[in-house]
Symmetry: D4
Subunit: 160 residues, 8 copies
């Protein structure tokens, strides 16, 4: 077979989508309610949810607003990285607790990284004590987030 | 009083933090379990959770991996915006369903915007049909996310 | 159905791919030879080729090296464009004969454009007389190609 | 003699140009037809074509639309390179099959490189496993092509 | 006379410099002490200081560390400005109390501006309500100061 | 306690602020006058001022206009620095007398540095002889200040 | 004829080149000496020189070092210009006496401009009073020349 | 004495300026004519000119238009250089005959360099064979000059 057909198969069907939609609205939706509304058994809901979570397709979590919990320094870093150390750099970044988001990207930067701390002073400490220890980072550019206007958690599924 | 003391008071105490921590690990943690582990009543857990959600400090949701659900085009936009139209631009951006994240920031861009679609073709359509209609956007720079290495939902709270 | 399954179906099969591969090596491959090598009839080859060309999947053309035919000024432009005039700008650019390549892209530029002329003087004339007439171009950045090290025409198909 | 007169002589005459024009329109134009239309012998056509191809002035090939054959990730890289390793870098880049275009240029980047793959995942693999192995690449900037609006193969010859 | 000799004459002599040096070390140096150390009369010190202050050569002031007085958001803006509105833009900027420094410069930006506020939220308000009202600002780039490592007030005079 | 409450306590009260305000207007304000206007004893003023100065919250100094004292070359540098050498770079920069300001920042540069010299020739000497000796500076970008439109020394305190 | 052969013919022959070389070394070379050294008549030298000057191929002039004659502010501007006003912008720039060099270019800027003045103050006046009056300049970036290390006047001719 | 008074004295007086002005108009002005017009002796003119040339204040040379003598590739390079190798880099650059201009500058680049060759191919050879050999060049950015609109040789002196 040729390469473009080999893509990892995503086996979520319409029922999965409908179930996901309930949790995107409210992570504590009851299985019974979902079963009733969709006309399926509670066991089916439970099995589907379990499978979605085990395959890391969905995660049900409490998401906190950093600005409302005293984490006032939310920053976005663009990193230029030595390509042959990209994997190592990523492995070290994800271990820093204040680093909440790491993504590889096209464009001027190889990696986008979000760091959330209680103060700019703390951010500066992380830059000097943590980022500085990671071999392979060529340069950093950073922006301070001034306000979060939208943050949605319903990534990836649009229902009919 | 002088200005730097006027900051909006964030009244989350240590108990709130401990409760939040349970939901950051598992959004479907049972109130009974939490109550037992923390040595408080179920009613207290329920009240605290309700208050955290009502005050938009925490939100319990199903978060989906875009790459595992066929939303293969995840992009990050940096927007330069006419400052006197910044609020309007934000209001219009947050209404576009494919726009999942909007934040004002320091640095070279006034706004960071994430757009998630099923294909680059769809992204291009949104740029031409949706972004193009928003008056006040001076220029856009964009990056395609190639892989999400870390995405944490426990923003804002570090427990002892 | 959900969006990520709606992608325009690309119906080229393995036989199409094998046929394409012959023309990628030599655009004047004989149908008879191809038929023999693949163990199919000449009619099948002819039909397949016709279908590939009609659907604009493949084009058989003479490609010329600009530097060997006196077109010494090969330049690459990055254009920032008003998004609500992007389609118009594209329509006007593709009509300029010296513009040989126009692509929309992510990154710092909205459009990449290649312009090939016999001299820098001629390029400068096109900038001043042609590009300048296109409403919606915000700014241009340009590079002069010094040497073409690789130019392949077998885009899009990797055979087993 | 002084330098500006020493340029490598390009010996394509008007007849060559007229012949080239036929193949730019259709790479499978018949020699007989061309001979008739131009009032020359088929042998002359054949000899001229052979000489154009041997001198790498023209190449007749099947060109495929990447977006129509499942190669959905078309990217353009700008590379900054250590100048004393430029030739080596070029030699290694042109050997990577997914690298379809390599050109040296003036401007912010030393090399422009196009990479075409079936997916962004595959592109990311090439960046991490192939580009990362090439010593002398200082940094990369990349753009994802969203749509090809024009791609002409008639580079280098304008007929009267 | 030719132009380069027409420069505004700066009439500070060595005595002025020696007097300035005392105040650079301590703005509350006593005139008597200075007079004694320099072997001049207190009247001379007084006259010289008065002249330096009247001619805006020196200013004696209390300088406060923003980070120690709750002004935690210290930012540096680079502004691109319409040149024919540069003077107006400057006139409006200097009137905003939170704007503490405005300088015209060569380089990528026409003006450098420092803004000091008690919080990022307050900074964002100033951007949206104050900067946005100034006609002639084309774009802004901003950096958040993380730590002040040196800030000297002895600009302009090096003593022997 | 959670982190965002641990910030270094800034103990300046309203009385401190009022006293500071006098010195921001005139660094040579008399203690007697301040005492009278605020209805407190001279001893209190003296103690408060002493404490503000000892804690490096306020400094009373003579500030000189560089352009009026022959220091015509005022430049602003943006430095990119190896993060693991940031502290060393800072330590060396602050020792150069012509370097009057050093601040760590977010954005495209790690450090902002102001250098004030009597001429561009002297600035160039410092770049070649002083900055060049500091290991860890990756690159520099510089702007020449053409005019200082505002320079305030009342950072950090806004009175009611 | 095809385009790349139509270039404006430059009719300087080897004798012209040899004569030019004398003036590149010393603009006051005597015709007699040149005639003797080249074995031609003084009349031939005279005619050739006259023709070179009339055709604006060569100009014999006194070139002055700006830094040695009090013109201490030598700056290089990169201008982004509205393409449809490029010619007008050029026409206005060349009329400003302090503007000594104007060239159209590829790259990030449309025009490179050198401005030489006796002081930065004078430069700033020109930016605010002269450049600001030219309609069609979108933005400017500028650098201050710190030292001229090489300036050759023998552009365009390499002798054997 | 304090530093800003120590500047290298430029001893050109009004008479020097008037003499220079003649050569700026025409490098072959006769001493007799100048003497007559200025009411001084030919000996004075001769002595002054000799002194101006010996002190490298003025140089009388034949300046050639590169585009009219077949040097069609005129490029401007911006170089980022390791500061501790700046002098060495300059020493090597000025020895390359095709390098016609080298200047240290503020801004994004440490050095501006002009290279003039007969073709882009020759420019590319110089980049790969000459610039690549110079240790200390960190990166290069280049622009191709498309047209020279103004080039004045009367730098540095404005007469009344």
């Amino acid at each position: 077979m040729n390469k473009h057909l080999e893509k990892e198969d995503v086996r979520i069907d319409e029922l999965d989508q409908k179930i996901i939609a309930f949790f995107q609205r409210d992570g504590r939706s009851s299985y019974t309610e979902i079963a009733e509304e969709l006309g399926i058994t509670v066991g089916t809901v439970r099995n589907r949810v379990q499978r979605l979570i085990e395959n890391k397709i969905m995660k049900i979590v409490g998401v906190v607003d950093p600005f409302k919990t005293g984490m006032e320094s939310v920053s976005m870093f663009g990193l230029k990285v030595q390509l042959n150390k990209l994997d190592e750099v990523v492995q070290k970044l994800v271990k820093i607790p204040e680093v909440r988001f790491v993504a590889a990207a096209t464009g001027a930067f190889d990696l986008y990284v979000q760091i959330i701390t209680s103060s700019n002073k703390e951010l500066y400490r992380i830059m000097k004590e943590e980022l500085s220890e990671i071999d392979g980072i060529l340069s950093t550019d950073s922006s301070m987030i001034l306000e979060l206007h939208k943050q949605s958690y319903d990534w990836g599924v649009n229902l009919p």
